[in-house]
């Protein structure tokens, strides 16, 4: 159950291993949905290939192309696209009938699937009569009923309101786990990605930026996008035995920096703020201006503009003591041991 995707206009290349649920994560416009549709055969490649279980689905080099309808895939669309003129049962049975299953058998199997997603009593209803969450379940059952080898989900929870989302996410996870084929989903919601997937592939502007488990990606972000998602400061530069030289020339003291191109991560919590230049052991000390102060729950995020723009996190009480307002001058400091360094 491997899926390899060669480069296309989006310039991505990755493989999905057996038993993996992979989430394509990225900001809107990154090309995630396009990629998904390309895998399904709905969008042409400029160059590249798609192989599933060793069989070529598409290969521009050899001009092979298996049309969408002959690919063993199941696709859950963002808007579900349940056929409005068919009832729920016929919707779920559609894929089976399309693949030649006799009417009676198809209806039976569709019924079973409806039961599995808990919608047995809605078999005769029209999609318009269902709620968003129910439609999502029907869409899933419809895609899974023909027993595909590859399940593709396009922003599966995006169309739901926040309250329904959590519940449906749990359900979806359960169904995904019990599915045996390759599972590839696309989302812009990191929470969704981390909850549903084993591995994340981060995509930005058509390019693969980072891949790894949720833990790996969040601990070692390799793009500003992920860093922002996770909420850490990300710097990039050349390591030189204990320090990292940034592109603009600034030097950050980082214990553990050896050599070569590196990312340097500093958690906002590790940054301390002062009204005056502090004296002490931390090696990284410099001035800045508080460009924005944001109160979240029980912490405060302060954006510091200056030589090296960073985000610091302090408690509301600390902020009060500092007597800091937006635009105010401030000094920050953090220890070199608080800087996480890893190869770029």
């Amino acid at each position: 159950m491997r899926l390899t995707l060669g480069p296309l206009e989006l310039d991505m290349s990755f493989a999905i291993e057996e038993g993996e649920v992979v989430a394509l994560l990225g900001p809107n416009g990154a090309g995630k949905t396009t990629l998904l549709r390309a895998v399904a055969g709905l969008v042409p490649f400029r160059s590249g290939h798609v192989r599933l279980d060793g069989k070529v689905l598409e290969d521009t080099a050899t001009r092979e192309y298996v049309p969408t309808e002959r690919r063993p895939i199941g696709f859950v669309f963002q808007d579900y696209l349940l056929f409005p003129h068919l009832n729920v049962l016929d919707n779920v049975a559609f894929g089976l009938r399309a693949r030649g299953v006799a009417r009676k058998a198809a209806v039976e199997m569709a019924s079973e699937w409806l039961d599995r997603v808990g919608l047995k009593s809605y078999a005769g209803a029209k999609p318009a009569e269902l709620s968003g969450g129910q439609r999502q379940r029907v869409a899933l059952a419809r895609a899974l009923a023909p027993d595909p080898r590859l399940l593709l989900l396009d922003e599966p929870l995006a169309a739901l309101d926040v309250t329904t989302r959590a519940e449906v996410r749990r359900d979806l996870k359960h169904h995904l786990d019990s599915f045996e084929g390759v599972r590839l989903l696309v989302t812009h919601d990191p929470l969704e990605a981390m909850a549903l997937a084993d591995r994340l592939i981060v995509m930005e502007r058509g390019r693969l930026v980072q891949t790894g488990s949720a833990a790996e990606v969040t601990e070692r972000p390799r793009s500003q996008y992920v860093a922002d998602l996770v909420g850490v400061n990300l710097l990039r530069g050349e390591a030189d035995h204990g320090s990292v030289r940034l592109a603009d020339g600034h030097v950050v003291a980082a214990a553990g920096a050896e050599s070569g191109g590196v990312f340097a991560v500093v958690h906002p919590r590790a940054i301390a703020l002062y009204r005056a230049r502090p004296e002490g052991s931390p090696r990284n000390v410099w001035p800045g201006r508080a460009s924005s102060i944001e109160l979240l729950d029980n912490r405060v995020r302060v954006r510091i503009a200056g030589e090296v723009p960073l985000v610091a996190e302090v408690t509301p009480a600390a902020l009060k003591e500092l007597n800091l307002v937006e635009g105010g001058q401030v000094w920050l400091s953090f220890k070199s041991t608080d800087v996480g360094v890893y190869p770029a």
Partner: protein, 261 residues
Amino acid sequence: MRRERAPIVIVVLAAIGAAFFILPLVGLVVRSPWPDAITELTAPETVEALKLSLVASLSATAIGLLLGVPLAWLYARVQFPGRDLLRAMTTLPMVLPPVVGGIALLLAFGRRGLIGAWLDSTFGITLPFTTTGVVMAETFVAMPFLILTVEAGLRSMDRRYEEAARALGANRWRVFTRVTLPLIRPSLFAGAVLCWARALGEFGATITFAGNFPGVTQTTPLAVYLLLETNPEASFILSLVLLLVSLVVLVGLKDRWLGSA
């Protein structure tokens, strides 16, 4: 909430416009010899004309669907060189005077026509003066209505449903019959009804191409025209029949014209 009152100028002009249409229809209703209606309508020639009209117009609609839907699909979905020209040509009968259409049909399918000559010499088939000729004339003038309506329907439907069907394994034929056609059913229906109504009322092309003979080519509009000279009362009644049929059709299709609520 104040109801908006229509400006007086608009009301007056609209009233004149309405009168222009209503008066002739009212005139027809009032002047028709109602007591004789049943006898006129059951006279053999009238019955033949009505029967022929029904058969021919339904046949024309069936052919219109068979040939028109694929054309509409091509226009809506496929880019090919000359598409705009072809579409213009297949829409032309809508604006051509029907007699001109009849003449064109003669030149193509008449005994000395482009195809007609070959049909005559090879199979001995002549199309003028036959019921087939009537169906051809009616199809010629009525099919464009169907093509336009169906093309509009195809263009406005959400094509992602077709993608969803393909992703579920449906081949192109299944996508077309199980997804596309059901989704454009309102347009199909409206197009077919318009086609049928136009075919029913066709006169100029029919009399020019197919001729006029009771039971074979004398459709109701032809009968009305000829009865006007010999038995005007009967022609009034027959006109009323055609009028009522058309009225029912138009009222029934009101939602399609104006967009359903």
